[in-house]
Symmetry: C2
Subunit: 179 residues, 2 copies
Amino acid sequence: MSLKYALLGLISKKPQTGYELYTTFKERMIYFWSSTHSQIYTELNKMEHEEWISSTYIYQEGSPNKKLYTITTKGEEYLLNWLLSDKIKPAKIKDEFLLRASAFHLLSEKEIIHLLDAIIEREQRVLEATRKWQHDNEQDEEFGIGDFVTAEYGVMYAEMYIKWCEKVRKEIRKRSRGN
Amino acid sequence: MSLKYALLGLISKKPQTGYELYTTFKERMIYFWSSTHSQIYTELNKMEHEEWISSTYIYQEGSPNKKLYTITTKGEEYLLNWLLSDKIKPAKIKDEFLLRASAFHLLSEKEIIHLLDAIIEREQRVLEATRKWQHDNEQDEEFGIGDFVTAEYGVMYAEMYIKWCEKVRKEIRKRSRGN
DNA sequence: TGCGCCATGTAAATTGTTACATGATTTA
DNA sequence: TAAATCATGTAACAATTTACATGGCGCA
């Protein structure tokens, strides 16, 4: 399982809390990885046991206390070993809309167009958010090569998705004119 | 969970066996859905209990016997209801290579290029296979709108992935010349 | 003679999701 | 004043993966 590598990769950039890692997952990594806070906290505790990371407890007034995790030498070695391994597992995707698309033979033109429009809108929002994030952060010294290439992927992925939706719309219109 | 809808969608096109469904998943739907044979067989049995599908046992000489599943009216209603529902869950993606890419700050130019080349090769194989499948089947009367649009997606997705890899390669070369 | 294909299943283990639990501060 | 944010965790449940189990046929 790769959640541990995902967490190690992020912590290797700078020490972080579980909450920060969780927000990074849901805000920035959604188009290539996903997880929930309950899974992240559990995994972080396991990883500390394995001594891939170490934590410092930070007392705060006003807001709740927190644990800051730092990667260890052992953790860095473990991560690097995985990064360089030859066996790269193929992506695992569960795309509900594509699944619906595969059953378009059961729907009318109107129904398909309605679904497509909703998805185009959704993807446009994702695209705008990614571009905004990229623009707001690219001058930041913390913005590294990994952030650059994955943000670029996010943009290309959303653009492709929208283009595909429009292609499908054209095809649907064409087919229903034909009937 | 949507595996049941995935199966219903496929069975709605024509009666199929668990084995046929399983091969469709691993050969054709990999870029938008994945499952294993053990999960598929279990799910099919549950779905028959729910009366969304019914089965006919087919005795064969030479090869093992099999069960052919057909969708019921109840199953069709259930599927259609899901197809038209407004809440379309966002795609859940676990892309190990993108995860590695997000940790590229830990690798050298040479190491990154090595990984990229392997992925480009992999994606080119996927792309060729999808195009071949599309070409070999588009004249088939069973090749419907769902097959058309999802195959198109597969092609666009793989093309985008390759373009992204090449963009990353250029960026990596640029950055290491800069140092 | 060993591997892959056809064909279906169960059991065990791991992963992932949702709900429960707490509680102060900030924002609408 | 209700919801969202910060912050961390556990428990129960659901989904998924890997291993176990069987066995004939065709191919190299």
